[in-house]
């Protein structure tokens, strides 16, 4: 085969398949992890019947959702109703094309030349990520609207307002990292952290807090889980969805959680870098492959997500907007100014 075919078709296809498969498996097991973690915080055991210690539970859940009857409400807007789950799952998976989870690797010497294990590294990776993940809100709005259910509609509307208003401080929080790294490429940002001998959460602690809050709101998680607030809106925008379409909403939510976790790890905690990459005497830590450093950091972020869910009540809709516009936005703006001044003074 000629080189370009392999380089541009075969390798990316293999990567896509592997990334998707692993991602979906991880997402499935995230649901299991969430149930277990919540259970353990709530003095109970959680799912432990399917398979050894319940490890096959997500498989059983997926199978159940697959074979369930796929209901479409009689008065629903059928086409949009079908479209909405696609609209939400596609961006959630698409952003994985730019997330670098490990440096270039030779796959333990299998390949002559090191290749990047992630799909691609584009120089506007961060912008692409923000833009694509913002599309997901259409799925939520359209899903809520097309169900022809008042609760779903309210869920969709809440979600629209929430996601749109939290994109803004989120963007500003990211800007401060871009200022520090001087690039929009995610790989470059990690490398900048290596060069600076400093993870960006130290200078960007405020940006981290803001980004994390916004991330929780973006993915509709407690304490900002208003669009699907079960006790108010009966699951909100996906009240009427069942079977596989419901599963897609579910997958998208968890995939988005993973995205937020990955971005936090990449932007603030040095991605795949081990702690203190410049300290030579910590070299024994290099035994752990970089991918696992990355996965561990993401896992911690996700655990905090679940911890939040197990602890906090839910904000009210107007209070959420209040926090977004009156607290997070000014804070993030101030943060940008401070970071910009710092960069200007230190780098000249």
């Amino acid at each position: 085969m000629d080189q370009p075919l392999i380089q541009f078709i075969v390798i990316p296809l293999v990567k896509i398949v592997v990334i998707l498969a692993v991602l979906l498996l991880i997402v499935a097991y995230l649901t299991f992890a969430e149930r277990k973690i919540l259970a353990y915080m709530q003095v109970r055991l959680g799912p432990n019947r399917v398979g050894p210690k319940g490890w096959l539970q997500p498989i059983a859940d997926a199978f159940k959702l697959l074979v369930k009857e796929d209901l479409v409400p009689a008065k629903a807007e059928k086409f949009v109703f079908m479209l909405a789950p696609g609209l939400i799952i596609i961006p959630a998976l698409l952003v994985w094309s730019v997330i670098p989870f490990a440096p270039d690797t030779t796959l333990f010497g299998l390949l002559k030349q090191p290749i990047p294990p992630y799909l691609t590294d584009i120089n506007i990776g961060l912008l692409f990520l923000l833009g694509v993940s913002g599309v997901g809100v259409y799925g939520v709005i359209l899903g809520g609207w097309s169900s022809n259910n008042k609760f779903s509609l309210m869920g969709g509307l809440r979600s629209a307002a929430q996601m749109v208003s939290y994109e803004v401080p989120m963007g500003f929080a990211v800007v401060s990292v871009i200022l520090m790294a001087g690039s929009l490429s995610l790989v470059r940002i990690v490398q900048a952290q290596q060069e600076a001998h400093l993870w960006f959460f130290v200078p960007g602690i405020l940006a981290l807090a803001i980004y994390f809050c916004c991330g929780v709101a973006e993915t509709n998680r407690n304490p900002f889980d208003l669009p699907e607030a079960e006790s108010e809106l009966v699951a909100g925008f996906h009240t009427e969805y069942s079977g596989m379409k419901f599963a897609l909403f579910f997958l998208a939510e968890y995939a988005n959680m993973l995205v937020i976790g990955s971005v936090v790890a990449l932007l603030f905690f040095g991605g795949w870098l081990r702690p203190f990459p410049s300290w030579g005497w910590l070299g024994f830590l290099d035994i752990i492959p970089p991918f696992f450093w990355f996965a561990g950091k993401v896992a911690v972020v996700i655990f905090i997500y679940m911890w939040f869910r197990g602890t906090f009540p839910r904000y009210r809709f107007d209070q959420l907007m209040h926090i977004g516009w009156k607290w997070l936005l000014p804070l993030s703006l101030a943060n940008v100014v401070i970071v910009a001044l710092g960069v200007l003074l230190l780098k000249g």
Binding site: I37, A39, Y40, M41, Q42, V43, R44, L45, W307, F308, G310, T311, F312
Partner: protein
Amino acid sequence: MALGEFFSKLIPTDLFAGLALTGGYFFKKKETIQFPEERVEPADRFRGMFGYDVDRCIDCHLCAMACPIDIIHIRDHTEVDEDPETGKKKKRKVIDRYDVDIKRCMFCSLCEEACPTDPKSVWLTTKTFEMATYERNEALYFTKERLMSWEGVLAYPGAVPPKDGGLPEDPMARKGKGSAAEGGVA
């Protein structure tokens, strides 16, 4: 806004207290009881499925009268026995049916309280609560025969709490006593 207030709003110590509590519980012992393998033994006075003993029953209908929702249906007839030696006639009541419509029962135990025999001829303290059925009407309509012979009924016949508040006497011993007296409890 005072600066202190501003920072106390910014740094959510109140939220950390909650996180510490739930986080602490993550490592504590769990409360779950794994049902089919582990079971909680019902208390001695637990009111569950009916037990009934036709030999002890004196056909006084007090249980049926005490029932607030009239689910105990008793049919009887009187038989006249003639003593072959003395020729004396003796009336004897025979219970044809003793039906309990358990699907409507609210397990208030008033029938057991009303029963004048000792030990009780009808009792709910059988420690049995697993009565799920697939069918609503027939499966939960218990006749005399079914009441006396459902699985496990003899395992714990009548842990009737004595009025003085002590523990019920050993149920198995009581059963022996009853059979020794040839059903002559009344």
